[in-house]
């Protein structure tokens, strides 16, 4: 039971709970306290020192938008954003109530009248924007993975294809998302023309930009991973006369999972970074747009709010990385390998 719990915690990355569990089971307390100190105490201390230095340093720098925000101002704005979120929800409720009243009045006059409830027209709150960003990066990353992994596998298995694709990959890899954006915007505007679009153009533009920038690490890592699997494994597949798809599915993929997942982790990290830039320019209603709007506002609380967004982006990036890490640990066949 204890071991299963420890295994689960290791898998999900909550490793600092492990000493606590061992402590409660009575295993060598001194050793566990040391572990706890190392795993939890040291990082917490480092964070505290950072906050203190930030607090001191921020007070010294005065910009035209006021003093650079320190931890206190940023925390204030977090509270303000939460309040604004609830205010917006109240407004949304009032909006629907007004509609109900109007519809009721309409029905009173004419019981056969058609009444509809229209969706709320207000601006999304900070937390809505976080969800939009996550959804956009997820879609972009998914498309990138669906393209990169199959192509990477085939490229890894065939030397000719790899030498054919390599120059293209190397040329397109360093291109910044901001350079792709105008092209993607034009193409999407030209091709995505429907009367009742399911997705906003800005959403498609941002997701495609994420795809274009984040598919290269997965592609390269998959190709390298596949080409470097033990030749013996391929020989075994040949001896057994397995067809191409069975070879790939049963032999190649399981052997190259570590490299594929490394690629996925890097891609997700890059995708999340690219998304913020893409959103700023494409105006997809996510965190990037939040930062851009705050910059445009130029109010005295703008810098603090941008800092809140920066920290949120960082924390979410960290969480996304951890989740991919957990998946990697779960799918990996070599449980003893140290994966960070």
């Amino acid at each position: 039971m204890k071991d299963k719990l420890i295994y689960f915690l290791e898998l999900t990355g909550f490793t600092w709970f492990i000493p606590l569990i061992r402590l409660s089971a009575g295993e060598s307390p001194k050793h566990q306290m040391q572990e706890l100190g190392k795993m939890v105490g040291v990082p917490l201390f480092a964070i505290a020192v950072f906050l203190f230095l930030w607090h001191l340093g921020a007070a010294k720098v005065i910009t035209s938008l006021g003093q650079v925000p320190g931890p206190t101002q940023v925390w204030e704005q977090v509270n303000v954003l939460v309040d604004e979120h609830y205010e917006a929800r109240d407004r949304e409720q009032a909006f629907y109530e007004r509609q109900e009243q109007r519809n009721a009045a309409k029905l009173e006059k004419n019981p056969d009248a058609e009444v509809t409830i229209r969706p709320y027209t207000g601006k999304e709150t900070f937390f809505d924007q976080i969800l939009t960003s996550l959804f956009t990066v997820f879609i972009g990353f998914l498309i990138a993975t669906l393209i990169a992994v199959p192509v990477g596998i085939v490229a890894g298995l065939s030397d000719t294809l790899y030498s054919a694709l390599n120059p293209l990959i190397q040329v397109f890899k360093p291109v910044s998302p901001l350079a792709w954006l105008p092209i993607v915007t034009m193409v999407v505007s030209a091709l995505y023309v429907t009367d009742n679009p399911m997705f906003e153009k800005s959403f498609i533009t941002s997701a495609l930009t994420v795809t274009l920038c984040s598919l290269w690490p997965t592609l390269i890592n998959t190709a390298v991973g596949v080409s470097s699997i033990d030749k013996d494994l391929i020989n075994v597949a040949r001896v057994l006369r397995l067809n191409y798809f069975t070879t790939v599915w049963k032999v190649v993929i399981p052997a190259s999972i570590p490299m594929i997942f490394t690629g996925l982790r890097i891609s997700l990290g890059i995708g999340w970074m690219v998304l913020i830039a893409a959103e700023m320019l494409a105006q997809n209603p996510g965190l990037g747009k939040f930062v851009w709007d705050e910059f445009q506002n130029g109010s005295s609380s703008s810098l603090s709010r941008i800092m809140v967004a920066v920290l949120t982006i960082g924390i979410i990036g960290f969480i996304l990385d951890r989740i991919t890490l957990s998946f990697q640990k779960f799918f990996s066949y070599d449980k003893n390998a140290v994966i960070r």
Binding site: R98, R118, P119, T121, G122, K123, Q283, E294, S300, R305
Partner: protein, 466 residues
């Protein structure tokens, strides 16, 4: 007008009876356009705006539920810059937008992206200012006449800036200034002010492919989005700019610049922003368009009601981060009738922003013609055009007929009195000759070419930029 209506109704009833089986759906939409408020074709709308205080009618129409009263469910979305906003209206992402008065005209004549944009509602008068950086102001100040109270005499002419520009030119440094868009009111007002002081702001030569607007210029004008103006000036990329509020007061607030003149002093009660929609949209959704104009008229009226009594509340709304977002104090100045020039030099400018008074919401043809003349003056209209061309374009783009329909519905519903509007029977759409310009040149909207002849700097007659 009444006679015409009843004849049309009789005709329609006749044709309805004759062709009702086959044409019933089509005819219905025609009848509803001339009868009482018709069915709203498109209740869910998205409008774009730029973060400037004069987007107020849109914000107020939303917050005070004027849109909802008309059965409209409007989402307001801030746009990144004027080009994105215009593209949004053209490609249909936005149903309509807060636009510069020159944008529908520029788009229709094909300067920039070509598209048919019309407007039936003028959003406000005045509201801009020209700000220069602290260094430039220090160099200008000795040239500005001082009053008895030790403060500069207003309006400050660009003649005070001329020696500064000459000295920069002598040193070989380009004198850069910013405005918000090639067909923006700010561009024309800045050019007007500079030219009135003897500084050449540059020509456009679209027929030669040169749309920089900097040919033969003493001062080089370039485009910067409004919210980025203060930071661009702080960075030293530009020495001054012409922009709408709150970006002039923002510069004073942050201590990075000094507003030297407001556009109220360049041309008293000049038209500023309009509410623009694409012509195709207006034709597909005539009743919706009228409903939108009705809500906006009510919002504009609310903003100027009781001698601007509602302005503080309006500022509270505008300072929300989803609208303009700047600090309350920065927006409050101009919206409540004061304007701070140099730090500490606050003067009363009660008509700095006018939303409804002086028939501010009526789309006058003479306003359209003025912008067209300035486009010709600086070469955006490369070839000489006859007076009739100006009239045709103005009548195509500015639609007081739609405004009149909306106003009449409001009068019938008792929401606003008939006295709040011009007399629609006699209104020609041309204001009488206006003389309150900083250089005193008189403007008669019916004589555009004669008007252009009066300027020392600028294209006139048959001139073309070589």
């Amino acid at each position: 007008m009444r006679k015409q209506l009843s004849i049309t109704r009789r005709k329609l009833v006749k044709s309805l009876a004759a062709a009702s089986l086959v044409f019933s759906t089509g005819m219905m939409s025609v009848t509803s356009a001339y009868a009482a408020p018709g069915e709203i074709e498109k209740p869910e709308l998205k409008f774009g705006f730029i973060k400037l205080t004069d987007m107020a009618p849109l914000a107020i129409a939303y917050e005070k539920f004027f849109f909802e009263d008309e059965g409209l469910y409007v989402t307001l979305e801030a746009q990144a810059n004027w080009k994105v906003l215009l593209d949004g209206v053209i490609d249909g992402t936005l149903d309509g937008a807060h636009m510069l008065a020159g944008q529908p005209l520029g788009a229709t004549i094909g300067f920039g992206t070509k598209a048919d944009i019309i407007t039936a509602f003028s959003m406000d008068l005045n509201g801009n200012g020209i700000t220069v950086s602290n260094e430039i102001w220090d160099q200008m100040k000795p040239n500005v006449p001082m009053g008895e109270d030790g403060k500069p005499v207003h309006p400050i002419s660009a003649e005070a800036l001329k020696p500064v520009v000459e000295s920069y030119k002598a040193e070989g440094k380009p004198f850069n200034m910013g405005m918000v868009f090639p067909v923006s009111t700010h561009n024309y007002e800045l050019r007007y002010w500079l030219a009135a002081g003897g500084i050449h702001p540059g020509f456009y030569a679209p027929h030669k492919g040169d749309t920089s607007g900097q040919l033969q210029a003493d001062a080089l004008l370039s485009v910067t989005p409004p919210p980025q103006m203060p930071s661009t000036m702080e960075a030293g990329t530009i020495y001054g700019y012409c922009v709408g509020e709150p970006w002039n007061q923002q510069a004073v607030f942050k201590g990075i610049g000094v507003p030297v003149i407001t556009d109220y002093e360049i041309w008293k009660n000049n038209p500023e922003k309009v509410f623009g929609v694409s012509k195709a949209w207006a034709e597909e959704n005539p009743n919706t368009h009228i409903a939108v104009v009705k809500a906006l008229i009510r919002a504009a009226h609310w903003l100027d009601e009781n001698s601007n009594a509602n302005r503080p509340e309006a500022v509270e709304i505008l300072s929300q981060s989803r609208y303009v977002g700047a600090d309350y104090e920065v927006i409050a100045n101009s919206m409540t009738g004061t304007f701070e020039y140099e730090k500490g030099d606050k003067r009363a400018v009660p008509d700095f922003n006018v939303f409804f008074r002086y028939n501010a919401t009526y789309p006058y043809y003479s306003d359209a013609v003025w912008y067209l003349t300035q486009m010709r003056r600086w070469g955006q209209i490369a070839e000489p055009k006859p007076d009739s061309w100006y009239m045709d374009i103005a009548k195509k783009v500015y639609r007081p007929d739609i405004y009149a329909l909306a106003a009449k519905e409001l009068i019938e519903e008792g929401k606003l009195p008939a006295s709040a509007f011009p007399d629609f029977e006699t209104e020609t759409g041309f204001k009488p000759t206006q003389t309150e310009f900083i250089d005193g040149i008189a403007y008669d909207g019916t004589q555009p070419n004669a008007y252009l002849e009066q300027f020392p700097i600028g294209l006139k007659g048959e001139e073309i930029v070589e």
